[in-house]
Amino acid sequence: MTKMTYREAVRAAIRKALRSDPRVFLMGEDVGRYGGAFAVSHGLLAEFGPERIRDTPLSESAFVGAGIGAALGGLRPIVEIMTVNFSLLAMDQILNNAATLRHMSGGQFNVPLVVRVATGGGRQMAAQHSHSLEGWYAHIPGIKVLTPATVPDAYGMLLAALQEPDPVFIFEHATLYPLDGEVDETAGHFDIGGAAVRRVGQDLTLITYGGTLGKTIQAAEHLAKAGIEAEVIDMRLLRPLDIATIVNSVTKTHRAVIVDEAWRTGSFAAEISAQIMEKAFDDLDAPVQRVCSAEVPMPYAKHLETAALPKVEEIVSAAQGMIAHHG
């Protein structure tokens, strides 16, 4: 096991992939000479050269589409879209081409494309640089949406994604890059897997993914001091959603709170809530709660941004409210 940060884990996975498979290459803005906007690809240009660590112009639509074409042409591109905020410029290629080509062609073409996207707020990057839109992507049939929240997942999920025959979108919450952890670099094979139970508990289920896992675990620790044992589920993937793990937990605990950094209305949390209702209604002692971002463009001022984002206190109070509710 090697100690490394989340950022280093992604880098290590890219490096391993490029070393072992000549079809793999990394393409995106500032991945080469700049070393990556979040320093993920730092040092990779020197090792692999400019053909395989490929700097692109600021042309999201063209380089994502080129990633699709390159995948159709037999390569295994990793396209880095600097942040989910800029991915909007490539939505046509993503939805109308990447996700749709297999079905639209009658199954003739698969698009083995991996797209890595930094996401989320909390660093005072303001309204146009703080979105959490992975829920929008999870809406689309034909793609997988991965949200690694831990250092081992930052490593393993990328390697697993590169084995997939269809497009995979990996959302890396920007606050996770400096997270410390450990990776087993000798491990051979990685499956994408499903949801992970990060903390076992029997009183209620806290469900989350990506950047809010830390806050959710903190909330569970606060609740434990009050004698409430929360089970924490890290979804790890939004599409396909591992609803079975969630339902298993809710069947045991009878209460669920979903923590999602996206805006509350139409959030992916709403989808999970609907599925829990459909599959575990009779096991619920209280309505499913959601802790999401406030309905406001992300403000710049620190106190406002903090107020807009999900807070540990909100998760704790939602949980306590549920325990008090008699179902």
Partner: protein
Amino acid sequence: MATTPVSKHPPVDREHALFLLSEMLRIRRFEEKAAEMYSLQRIHGFLHLYIGEEATGVGAMQAFTQDDAIVATYREHGQALARGISSKVLMAEMFGKATGCSHGHGGSMHFFDARRRFYGGYAIVGGGLPIAVGLALADQLQNRKRVTACFFGDGAVAEGEFHESLNLAALWKLPVVFLCENNLYAMGTALERHQAQINISQKAASYNLAASVVDGMDVLAVETATKQAVESVRKGNGPFLLEFRTYRYRAHSMSDPDLYRTKEEIEEWRKRDPIVLFQSQLREWKLLTDSDLSKMEAELNTELDEAVRFAETSPLEPVENLLEDVEGPVTA
């Protein structure tokens, strides 16, 4: 910019001449049949006819080998037929049958054929250009000497993807041939109403990319120009932009009431019908007889009747298969 003049002497042998003519005629008769089937409600949704533009699809296709890749638009029946995809499976596709080239999943706007490296069929204007760039990138990175043909219209020139794609292809010297079929209208909006610079080929200079303008109603001019462009691209000189000046005689689609053009303008362009022009040229060169033509028409008639019969009698995909082909195994 000068357009390529047509030679006074027969620059083509009889066999090739008759081949080009029959290819164009096949497209014309197929499109007429498709229009008829649409009116009879055997074909639904959107139908965009290639009538008038046959010379660009047929002429250009002669420059590409089976190994090269073709990316086209929703007005792609002409390119699909010229690529060698059978009229049967194209008709069946438009009838929504399981035997269609896209198994009935795509319809008129989404023809695909993996074996013939025909990569669609895109309904979003400009949507195919980045894909063509990527296919060419894959060839370059894998040291394959293949070229990617990318057909699009004048409307696409307004989309950001056109500019991004030409820049990227030129920057990386990718083996793409950008083929603009300029029929003077982006749906109902005339070129001079949507472009500040109406000379499309001149836009290539912004990206340091070679370009030519070609008379799109002259199949031999299109063939010659495309072959020259493709040869240059194959030599590694970087991408090329060809602007074919052409015209569509029918409306944008079967739903279009065509209120934005005058009958006079259409009539003027009808005088340059690429098929009629080529026929008279071939007669002048003594390469075409009446009996050649009637034989060709008779064969096409039989072929298209068979295509309709095939489409009519083909099965629909079972509804139980609805959720298949959303995800799946590696295909190639």
